[in-house]
């Protein structure tokens, strides 16, 4: 036992980092005057990225006023949706499980801005924003959480089970989605389509064996997959340093190169996504992209990705506080209406208990569509 004690104390000692990643949400500077009509250039903090076996992305990024404002609106909608879900969960209207992505909006909204609708995304259970951004609706998400017919999986799964044609879920078994992502990317490569797969997982999930198995296959076959580690520092109660012998997740792919990016600054997120997309589409094989982020808005307001973007918009003179408040109000109204509509949707039909188990029209085992179903319909 003494040996175990030695091992665990060694594990918990932190290896000092060469140079820490910047994780503030508001360190991007103007590189030229902001324009209301034309794209203009901004410069990310020099520590926005770190690289392993590759170069960091360029720090100069082109943005537009409209782009920034619509990202602001979208991040607010996502935050409002998660807050509404939280309230519904506390009222026990949402049963089962409900994992929120409050504080991590820069990742979901920024990712969507850096890819195209033809690219594919797959993630774990912290999935609500992706489901909306990839073609779903807030009503569809909330209704799914409530287990209603209007839910995106017809109320059959709940929080962790939401899909769209370009979003492969919503996956509750930690780590399981990562090799699935490699398979999706293989199909893309096979069809010779210029598209990428973003396979996402958490810092905790990164320790599942199948994540490493997926890395190996992806590198062996040079698949166009970006493995995205959303490092929010904790997997349930256990901190990244205590779960991972190497908490530098972007370096864990062995021969696969990696980028670590500030996951709190949406401009850095978008840049990192564009960069990694180009990488995998140029035939160089997979790459790991680690976003350093925080659960629930982080420790201070410089670590709130929405407040960070708000500061850029205001300081660069693109909109006033009042104008932004208006956008926020619109987001809230949109979510409020979605909640009401979702609540009005009925729970699934009883017969939907035994549909979608096999392909429509196929017979389930005897005790499903046979006797029991007849009995069930008498309820």
């Amino acid at each position: 036992m003494a040996s175990l004690a030695r091992i665990s104390s060694r594990l918990s000692r932190r290896i000092p980092l060469a140079r820490a990643i910047q994780t503030s949400a508001d360190t991007t500077q103007l590189a030229q005057d902001a324009s209301h009509s034309e794209p203009f250039t901004v410069k990310l903090h020099e520590d926005s990225f770190r690289a392993y076996r590759t170069e960091i992305p360029g720090l100069e990024v082109q943005v537009t006023k409209d782009g920034l404002l619509s990202m602001y609106k979208e991040m607010n909608s996502m935050r409002r949706m998660e807050m509404a879900s939280d309230a519904l969960y506390k009222q026990k209207l949402i049963r089962g499980f409900c994992h929120l992505a409050i504080g991590q909006e820069a990742v979901s909204v920024g990712l969507e801005r850096g890819i195209t609708p033809e690219d594919r995304v797959i993630t774990a259970y912290r999935c609500h924003p992706f489901a909306v951004l990839r073609g779903g609706t807030i009503k569809g998400v909330i209704a799914e959480l409530l287990g209603r017919q209007a839910g995106m999986s017809h109320g059959k799964g709940g929080s962790m089970h939401i899909f769209t044609p370009s979003f492969f879920g919503g996956n509750g078994i930690v780590g399981a989605q990562v090799p699935v992502g490699a398979g999706i990317a293989f199909a893309q490569k096979y069809m010779e389509k210029p598209v990428a797969t973003y396979a996402m997982y958490g810092d905790g999930a990164s320790n599942q064996g199948q994540v490493f198995e997926a890395f190996n296959m992806a590198k062996l076959w040079d698949l166009p997959v970006v493995f995205v580690c959303e490092n929010n520092k904790y997997g349930m109660g256990t901190s990244a340093e205590r779960s991972s012998s190497n908490p530098e997740y972007f370096t864990r792919g062995d021969k696969i190169p990696g980028i670590q990016a500030n996951g709190m600054d949406i401009i850095a997120v978008k840049k990192a996504v564009e960069h990694t997309r180009e990488w995998v589409l140029s035939g160089k094989g997979p790459i790991i992209l680690e976003f350093v982020t925080y659960r629930y808005g982080g420790h201070s307001s410089t670590q709130d990705p929405i407040r960070g973007l708000q500061r850029y918009i205001e300081e660069w003179g693109l909109a006033t506080e009042e104008e932004l408040k208006k956008l926020d109000k619109e987001a809230k109204a949109e979510v409020d209406q979605a909640v009401e509509e979702a609540k009005a949707s009925p729970i699934p039909f009883e017969h939907d208990l035994w549909t979608d188990i096999y392909y429509n029209g196929y017979r389930a085992p005897i005790h499903c569509v046979g006797v029991s179903v007849k009995r069930f319909t008498t309820i």
């Binding site: 175990l4 049963r95 709940g158």
Partner: protein, 418 residues
Amino acid sequence: MFNTSNIAHLTRRRLLGINAQFARRWQSTGSEPPPAGGHLPSIATSTILRSTRDSAIRTPGIHWLDEGASTTPGNVLAGRETRKMNLYQAVRDAMSIALTKDDTAVIFGEDVAFGGVFRCTMGLAEEFGRERVFNTPLTEQGIAGFGIGLASMGHTAIAEIQFADYIFPAFDQIVNEAAKHRFRSGGQFGVGALTIRCPTMSVGHGGLYHSQSPEGYFMGASGLKIVIPRSPIQAKGLLLASIRDPNPVIFMEPKILYRSAVEQVPVDDFEIPLGKAEVLVPGSDLTLLTWGTPLYHCETALSMLSSPPAPLGPHVPASLRSAKIELIDLRTILPWDVDTITESVNRTGRLVIVHEASRTGGVGGEISAEIQKRCFLKLNAPVKRVTGWDTPVPMQYEKFFIPDPLRILDAVVETLSY
């Protein structure tokens, strides 16, 4: 016979017709006010639970393991103390004894050093040290394999898989390594010191990945034992027996009982033997066999049978109300106590099996086949199974997915009147 069966069928249809209306109210796990028809047993009022010191220390089959037990065999009950515990506290108490008495014992799993999701390891890391109660990374296959290695060195390995639903990534290690270790080394190695605990069964709204009952998946894994306790005393005694059993054991704890099942639990070290079913209510007309949470639904169903609440009256033939039902808790699912069940069914001529897992591939199928073979000429009715449906655990219809008291009553009425 044809006629009776038809009547039973009709009765059943009518019973189930009012199922939706009453199911919620009569779910023994519900917290709504008592129904107008009067009080039915619930987990809180269950007579299965031992709520006094006297009944607790007289738990059938209890085997005391402290010094007092061996030095004064004539008076093993004198001075025995009990404490009120719910199931998670009893599980914790068992592990605390295991850690105290066995220097090689360690506990590991996801977040167990913080008490775990259900608080079963609360305070153990503080009490026994982080080198004996430690968190693992998220790695179920790794947890199982690591436990096997540790146990093969003769150390007592107590692993936790956070939910039974997450045991599948560890399936290979459990089935191909742990279960076969002794056989494939010709008896030179064994991993008997490995116990894997996991919360199991439904909570009413857990959905696809938090309400499964995977015990049936392990039925073909000879070399392994599977144990499911029904109450705090049982949990403590069976867990200590599992930890010390010279075979690898999967110990599945019905998670809805963690807080709701409360008993006076003897504070001393004791075991309850593995491989033995327990007859909770003796009877002569029908054997009702189950394990874990559905035991309490069976108790409710039996109360409904003998004195049906008013709305159910017309559906429960008067001639069946005095039927003597033998209620059995299987406790060890693998290897199961075939002798006790055979003896019972040979007496009663009827068997109803209740479990939460889906029917196809469920443990009930195995038991039915064996009992039909052993008791064929004594059976007065086909063996009946009341189980989850052959669907994933659905989020909205979980309460209809799991066997509830009405479905059990329905099966008992049908089998009695076959």
